[in-house]
């Protein structure tokens, strides 16, 4: 049964869609999945394909941003040579 093509989605279809999205996002962010989660994705390969293009393109979880260090807080006089 190919539920994704139904004009109005049922709640379980929504649920599958959302869970697929969550799992794909996890993978995108570099996290591991359980075997059952991997199987879930295999079972709903069609939904997976549909969802892939809808994932955000930017990196979601890259860790802390680079931050500059401000060194020019004070003047130091050097010896007049």
């Amino acid at each position: 049964m190919n539920r994704e093509e139904a004009p109005g989605k049922s709640p379980e279809e929504m649920y599958v869609q959302q869970k697929v999205r969550v799992l794909l996002m996890l993978k995108k962010m570099g996290s591991n999945l359980t075997p059952s989660e991997e199987a879930f994705l295999r079972n709903y390969a069609g939904v997976v394909n549909a969802q892939m293009s809808q994932l955000p393109q930017h990196n979601i979880d890259q860790g802390a941003e680079d931050v500059v260090m401000a060194f020019s807080r004070q003047e130091t006089e050097d010896r007049r040579q």
């Binding site: 049964m1 109005g8 989605k9 049922s10 709640p11 379980e12 929504m14 649920y15 599958v16 869609q17 959302q18 869970k19 999205r21 969550v22 799992l23 794909l24 996002m25 996890l26 993978k27 995108k28 962010m29 570099g30 996290s31 591991n32 999945l33 359980t34 075997p35 059952s36 989660e37 991997e38 199987a39 879930f40 079972n43 892939m52 994932l55 955000p56 979601i60 979880d61 890259q62 860790g63 802390a64 941003e65 680079d66 931050v67 500059v68 260090m69 401000a70 060194f71 020019s72 807080r73 004070q74 003047e75 130091t76 006089e77 050097d78 040579q81």
Partner: protein, 729 residues
């Protein structure tokens, strides 16, 4: 000795001649008499003649001839200017190796002569000057320009001799007259003479004071617009002397708009002139923000950078670098210097033989570096800096690490370049050599942290750290005594290193996990000591919330490794992570949800997480506008609900579906129309009248979802910890 007597006799003769021209009386140079002033003020000589001469009685003709010739020879040797035209002196030297008596006399005689000349002139010119000064002062103010010109020339001559110069500088009227003449004249030569006079006077304290007091500074500043090079030179040099040694001069030069006149002079091409000019700018702008802004407004940065790029004269480069250093702490000048190509220009001078120049350039580059993160064309500079990381000089290391840290900040091109030219290895060595020196350690670790993420060669860098034995050294930085900026940077670096799977075991072996957990506990305890969320603890300028976030974030990535996550869970960290889900700091929520998400892969941990009551805060987090947070929260809920009742899993599904629709408004609309009212979903889970959810209405056509989920995850199916990580998309 006859030759000595000759000497004395000759000297006396000469002095007598001088006395006739200059004095009416004997000064006592030869006779040793003193000058006495009687009550009426007239001077006379208290001389008592005591001449000793040895006369040779009855010199033979030959002897007389010989004597005369010798006298002439002595005179000629001592006073060649007195030789009558046509007179020739025959040398009696027969043996080149043997000097004649005359020749042997000549040197001490010359010394004596010089001394005599000096003494005579001193007294002579001082007197002359004293009599002449009032007269000359008047003449300098004459209406006739020719008169003024001549007077200026004479005064200039008088400054050549110390005695007369002293007299001049002691006359404020004279100095003021010179200043006025210089200012008012339309004649170049007069201006030049007057400027030269002031220049001569500026070498003594008295002279400087006299110039300062007679309004010389505004006049000299005006001379900086002169088209005559020599006037410019005298003016800038005199001003330089004033700035160096005269109190109040800096203020006076600034008030006279000296900076506005000096900055355009940076376009001149004489290196020595430029060196003096730039030194003036440094003296005026050090510690004076307004001066720095005036320099900026007049194109100072461009002019100074041009000099650094185009000249080789060391002294000029050094003085210019000092001005740039002074300007580099000014927030307005900084971007201007960078835009003018300052980084590249300063970078040209880091490998020369002048230590003072190299060091000034480095300090300046360091100050500028946070404004230069987007600059292009810094490849050469970056390579030189990596090379300097091998230095033992702590100043050089401080600067090189600091500059590299900033230039690799959010700049993937710079990161890739530094990685490719051995930057990782060099930085590790710098860390090792830094020891307790935080000024080196902190930027070095920050630079490594930058290199290990967000660019094409990040993986290369992550591996390089391990390959160059960096991991133990880095983990050690987490130990006591804690300098929090270094700790914070190190925690971030460890997180990045853990992104590389091959680093996970070495990090574990180096003891990263217990250290991180202990730091987390300590920092968390600190944050809990404050009653309201607006109060934050700062230690060494770092908030403990940042340490909490950083440590949890590092543990999150370390938890991707199954052995590591077992170790993390075994340290009783789960209760703390669950508590952190309640943090008001979004990033802390994200990393704690993330680490729980990884830990929940293990069944025992999943149960512990559930036992800690994580479901409630996680349900809240499903509503987060941060998609990362919502994703982790959802994943944890899936994982802890695997073994739960279908009611529970239904609730999770409902919450999930509702929450995640926030990201998909169209789908929400459709779902809203397709299902019964929301009120049903909010029913108390203990209420037996829980309305039948659509899942349970499924017929045999479709498997109920939860049953499917249940079937896939069988308790007897052992989860294989050796399963490879899924590839990130």
């Amino acid at each position: 000795m006859m030759s000595m007597q000759m000497n004395e006799a000759e000297g006396s003769v000469k002095v007598a001649e001088w006395q006739q021209t200059y004095y009416a009386h004997d000064s006592g140079i030869q006779s040793g008499t003193t000058t006495v002033r009687d009550d009426e003020g007239t001077e006379y000589s208290a001389k008592k003649y005591a001449v000793t001469t040895t006369l040779v009685e009855n010199p033979t003709e030959v002897e007389a001839q010989y004597t005369l010739t010798r006298a002439q020879r002595v005179r000629a040797a001592m006073f060649p200017e007195t030789l009558v035209e046509g007179e020739a002196v025959l040398s009696t030297q027969t043996d080149p190796g043997q000097q004649t008596n005359v020749q042997r006399l000549a040197e001490p005689s010359q010394l004596l002569k010089t001394a005599i000349v000096h003494l005579i002139n001193y007294q002579d010119d001082a007197e002359l000057a004293t009599r002449a000064v009032p007269e000359l002062t008047k003449l300098l103010a004459d209406d006739d320009a020719v008169v003024v010109n001549k007077a200026a020339m004479i005064v200039n001559q008088l400054t050549r001799k110390e005695a007369s110069r002293r007299v001049l500088m002691q006359s404020p009227q004279m100095v003021a007259a010179v200043v006025r003449a210089m200012q008012n004249t339309g004649d170049m030569e007069t201006a030049r003479c007057a400027a030269s006079v002031l220049h001569s006077l500026s070498h003594q304290r008295e002279g400087l004071l006299a110039i300062f007091k007679s309004g010389g500074i505004p006049a000299l500043v005006r001379m900086l617009s002169s088209p005559m090079e020599s006037v410019l030179f005298y003016a800038i040099t005199t001003l330089h002397n004033l700035l160096l040694h005269q109190e109040g001069a800096k203020m006076a030069v600034r008030l006279a708009d000296g900076l506005q006149r000096m900055v355009p002079l940076l376009k001149k091409s004489n290196p020595k002139f430029l060196a003096i000019t730039t030194d003036c700018l440094q003296l005026l702008s050090y510690g004076n923000q307004e001066s720095k802004l005036i320099i900026l407004a007049n194109g100072g940065p461009e002019g100074l950078v041009f000099i650094m790029r185009n000249y080789n004269y060391e002294k000029l480069l050094w003085t210019t670098s000092r001005v740039l250093k002074v300007l580099s702490v000014c927030p307005s000048n900084k971007p201007a210097i960078v835009e003018a190509g300052g980084m590249q220009a300063l970078g040209q001078h880091l490998t020369g033989s002048s230590q003072r120049l190299t060091q000034n350039c480095l300090w300046t580059l360091r100050n500028l570096s946070d404004a230069a993160t987007k600059q292009e064309g810094l490849d050469g500079l970056l390579q030189v800096l990596v090379g300097q990381l091998g230095s033992d000089d702590v100043n050089m290391l401080t600067c090189a690490t600091g500059i590299l840290s900033n230039l690799t900040c959010n700049n993937s091109r710079n990161k890739a370049l530094v990685t490719q030219c051995g930057g990782v290895e060099a930085l590790i060595h710098a860390v090792l050599r830094a020891g307790e020196k935080e000024d080196v350690a902190e930027p070095a670790v920050c630079a490594l942290r930058h290199l290990t993420s967000r660019h094409q060669d990040a993986e290369l860098a992550q591996n390089a750290v391990r390959l160059h034995y960096g991991i133990p050294a880095i983990v050690k930085l987490l130990g006591q005594p804690h300098y929090w900026p270094v700790v914070k940077a190190t925690v971030g670096l460890i997180r990045n290193l853990a992104l590389c799977p091959v680093n996970q075991a070495p990090l574990r072996d180096a003891g990263a996990i217990p250290r991180l957990v202990n730091l987390l506990l300590k920092a968390h305890q600190d944050t809990q000591r404050h009653t309201s969320s607006s109060q934050q603890t700062y230690q060494d300028g770092v908030r403990m919330e940042e340490i909490v976030e950083g440590c949890t974030g590092a543990l999150h990535i370390l938890a991707r490794d199954p052995v590591n996550r077992g170790e993390i869970a075994s340290m009783q960290t789960i209760p703390l992570f669950v508590q952190l889900l309640y943090s008001y700091v979004e990033n802390v929520k994200r990393v704690s949800a993330g680490v729980l998400c990884e830990l929940a892969l293990d069944k025992q941990s999943a149960e512990m997480i559930d036992a800690e009551g994580a479901s409630a805060p996680l349900m809240e987090l499903l509503h987060s506008s941060n998609e990362g947070i919502a994703t982790y929260a959802a994943a944890v809920l899936f994982r802890i609900s695997e073994d739960k009742s279908s009611d529970y899993r239904k609730r999770v599904s409902v919450e999930l579906t509702h929450s995640l629709f926030k990201h998909d408004p169209a789908a929400w609309e459709m779902a809203h129309n397709a299902v019964p009212m929301q009120a049903a979903y909010l029913a108390d889970e203990l209420d037996g009248g829980y309305p039948p959810y659509i899942y349970s209405d499924l017929g045999v056509d479709g498997m109920p979802l939860e049953a499917e989920m249940h079937e896939q995850y069988m308790p007897e199916m052992a989860y294989d910890p050796r399963q490879a990580y899924p590839e990130p998309l």
